[in-house]
């Protein structure tokens, strides 16, 4: 329904503008790249928080954007309370990631590398391998995807795509609006 999409856009816009307005110290944002970075980070944070922490990708995106913004010494981008909670979640996620990676490494080490003969593999195996590669890639793309199983990965991707579209809609119309000023 239309109102779902528009309400998401509205929420995102509201939070984003709030975040942009909260920007206090103008000292560091002189180059275009820095401004772009700030805009993107604030948009990501707004998008993730518009989703409300119900989805894993939003939490992961939030924490990664938070970490990113802290590196650049932006002034207190996110209030402290949320920071603490997200940090905890982020730590738990990274723990899951590292443990999963360790397990994967063990499994692959146990399997004999290169044991498959050079005969033609059945098509099913090839297809499975392709799918596996693709899902790995998808995991890297979707924030927080490393620590999800396939089912939730797909669901999260769905949600992520929708939210990205909403974000792009809002940003695009903002660009248009500011574009008017140039004429």
């Amino acid at each position: 329904m239309m109102t779902d999409r528009t309400s998401l856009r509205q929420k995102f816009l509201k939070k984003w503008v709030k975040g942009l307005q909260m920007y206090s110290s103008p000292k560091k944002l002189t180059t275009v790249m820095e401004r772009k970075r700030f805009i993107r980070l604030s948009a990501d944070v707004a998008l993730a928080s518009a989703r409300g922490g119900m989805t894993r990708w939003s939490r992961a995106l939030f924490s990664s954007a938070l970490k990113d913004s802290q590196d650049k010494h932006f002034d207190r981008k996110i209030p402290g309370r949320a920071k603490g909670k997200e940090r905890k979640l982020h730590e738990s996620i990274t723990r899951k990631i590292t443990s999963r990676k360790v397990l994967k490494g063990i499994r692959e080490g146990a399997r004999k590398k290169g044991k498959t003969p050079s005969n033609r593999l059945p098509a099913r195996t090839i297809a499975k391998r392709l799918v596996k590669k693709r899902t790995q890639l998808l995991r890297k793309i979707v924030p927080g995807g490393e620590s999800m199983d396939n089912v939730s990965l797909i669901t999260e991707t769905l949600d992520y795509i929708i939210s990205l579209r909403a974000q792009i809609d809002v940003m695009r119309s903002l660009v248009c609006l500011s574009g008017h000023l140039d004429a």
Partner: protein, 343 residues
């Protein structure tokens, strides 16, 4: 800009809605920051109502007893609200999947009808109470009766009841119904393969949703290629975000200027129709310019002239068709006047 239309299913949107969207921007900025309750706003998003091609995903939501189904967006997007605990478990997944499979959308039935050899019980609020009991009571009489079909059902029941008991502790207010699965002819009936099969079908259902969401995936058969398309789509969306943020950064010399730039061209296009006439805020009268908003019929023509004049900026014309609107249910934003005064 990018030729790909994100909102390609709605190409004929009236451009005046983008204007209302701009007004909406101002209105939103004006509003005092309202605390966003995550749960409550989410349930506000959840709506009943099937659309053209969608199945429904659902996660049990204790506050939504009357609207169990998550709504789907018109072009096939689906929003869902999983419960905060990620450990809803297999029961909930089955539930979501079964609800999706048997979704009330007639359009989706063509997609799901081949699968409806399964006996899938629709999930509805009224059934919550009934489900808790059959799990317990059915196992007793069933155990006495041999017979292949009954055994399969009993397997499923057992599995469901176990999971239900396990999950009941974690979700106090929610009852999780489970899936009745009748095994097809010639297929294995032990619990493992049933579980695997349910899981596979769940994944397939969601892949179908993704296929409908991502443009150009409908014709593609095969998971690997579909995943390819999905990956490309997500990457292009992310790149667009980067690009747009770069554009926004390039347009405005500072961040705070960003917000100012929204308002003045808005007032110009709204009040005059002669674009662009930069107006200062002192020119804006509260009462006088209200009439502008009441002339809703003029908006399309305003917008058209606006867009047409902006031939120079390359992204404008494609934007006009892509800009999706804030719903007019929000009404005429008279508050933009208040906004000006506040700012």
């Amino acid at each position: 800009m990018e030729p790909m239309s994100l909102t390609g299913n709605r190409p004929d949107e009236p451009p005046f809605e983008s204007l209302m969207f701009n007004e909406e921007i101002q209105r939103l900025i004006a509003l005092p920051p309202a605390p966003v309750g995550n749960a409550s706003s989410f349930t506000a998003i959840l709506e009943l109502g099937p659309t053209q091609a969608m199945e429904l995903l659902h996660w049990p939501e204790p506050s939504e007893s009357s609207n169990p189904y998550v709504n789907s967006v018109d072009d096939g997007a689906v929003l869902f609200a999983p419960t905060s605990s990620a450990n809803t478990g297999y029961g909930a997944n089955c539930l979501a999947f079964s609800a999706g499979e048997n979704g009330s959308s007639p359009g989706a039935s063509s997609a799901s009808s081949p699968k409806v050899k399964k006996e899938i019980v629709p999930y509805s609020a009224s059934d919550w109470s009934t489900w808790t009991h059959p799990a317990v009571s059915d196992t007793a009489p069933e155990s006495k009766v041999p017979g292949s079909t009954k055994r399969k059902v009993r397997d499923q029941l057992d599995k469901g009841s176990e999971k239900k008991k396990k999950n009941e502790s974690s979700q106090d207010a929610e009852a999780l119904p489970y899936v009745h699965v009748r095994a097809r002819r010639g297929q294995a009936t032990d619990s493992h393969s049933l579980a695997e099969r349910a899981r596979r079908e769940k994944i397939n259902a969601r892949m179908k949703l993704l296929q409908e969401l991502v443009p150009g995936c409908n014709m593609i058969t095969g998971t690997a290629l579909v995943l390819d398309e999905i990956i490309n789509h997500v990457q292009s969306l992310q790149r667009q975000v980067e690009l747009l943020s770069m554009k926004l950064a390039a347009v405005n010399p500072q961040i705070d200027f960003n917000l100012d730039s929204i308002f003045t061209p808005e007032n110009a296009s709204l009040s005059d129709g002669n674009f662009p006439v930069p107006m200062t805020w002192s020119d804006i009268q509260i009462g006088g310019s209200m009439e502008i908003y009441q002339q809703q019929g003029h908006f399309p023509s305003f917008q058209h002239s606006v867009w047409v004049k902006e031939e120079g900026s390359s992204f404008v014309m494609p934007e006009a068709s892509h800009i999706t609107s804030i719903s007019s249910a929000n009404g005429v934003p008279l508050d933009s006047r208040q906004l000006k005064m506040e700012m």
